[in-house]
């Protein structure tokens, strides 16, 4: 299945991109996607367990994913 991964702020700078498509095995979880991103060039500068949202809601690392999901890796927020 294919999912979209979105990166923001410092994480987008570190990886040099803000969006990518990943093809992953059925049954993959948030943790699997994070591990893939950590393995990309620059990805080891990201924390091993960052905040993640799936389809615009915060999600745990154990959450199983579905085809077409949008996974966002969220740097520490600093709004306001």
């Amino acid at each position: 299945m294919t999912v979209t991964v979105r990166l923001f702020a410092s994480y987008a700078e570190i990886l040099g991109k803000s969006e990518l498509e990943l093809t992953i095995p059925d049954g993959s979880t948030v943790a699997d996607v994070v591990r893939s991103v950590n393995g990309m060039p620059g990805g080891n500068s990201l924390p091993p367990s960052p905040l993640v949202a799936v389809n615009y809601s915060y999600a745990s690392s154990a959450k199983p994913l579905a085809n077409g999901d949008e996974i966002a890796i969220i740097p520490p927020v600093a709004g306001g």
Binding site: A9, E13, P50, L51, A78, G80
Partner: protein, 143 residues
């Protein structure tokens, strides 16, 4: 009237307050966050705000819904500005109205605190020495 928005123009405090006004509400509480001239001792020239827009709006709507359940408020608005802001510019405006003042101020604090804690919005701070830094990027990370 519950409303959230991400804007790229100046936040107008009087119009925020007008948005939540209603004859049955006796109390309006407003919070405005502005760009400070220094942060942790470093002189700031401005801040670039960026967001995960779709999620930030949903998260802010959830926060207003929670505030409505917790404090009985029916009128609240959050406006968050994005883009490049200078010292003194308002980055966030929140207005809440309620028949009574305690609930209005309780709800205001809840909405401001939760928005800062949960809305996926980031600040890239620019300093007078030409350097820049993502605010809070070295903060505690949680899953």
């Amino acid at each position: 009237m519950m409303h959230v928005s991400l804007v790229r123009v100046a936040i107008d405090i009087a119009s925020l307050a007008a948005t939540v006004a209603k004859d049955t509400n006796g109390a309006t509480a407003v919070f405005v966050g502005t760009v400070r001239s220094s942060n942790e001792g470093r002189p700031v020239t401005g801040i670039e705000y960026s967001a995960y827009d779709e999620m930030a709006e949903r998260e802010m709507v959830s926060i207003l819904t929670e505030a409505s359940q917790k404090f009985g408020i029916a009128e609240a608005v959050i406006e968050h500005r994005l883009g490049t802001l200078h010292v003194g510019d308002a980055s966030i405006g929140v207005a809440v109205a309620h028949p009574h003042r305690g609930e209005a101020m309780d709800a205001l604090r809840y909405i401001v605190d939760e928005t800062k804690r949960r809305a996926p919005i980031w600040k890239l701070e620019h300093y007078t020495d030409g350097t820049r830094e993502w605010v809070n990027a070295g903060g505690v990370l949680e899953t």
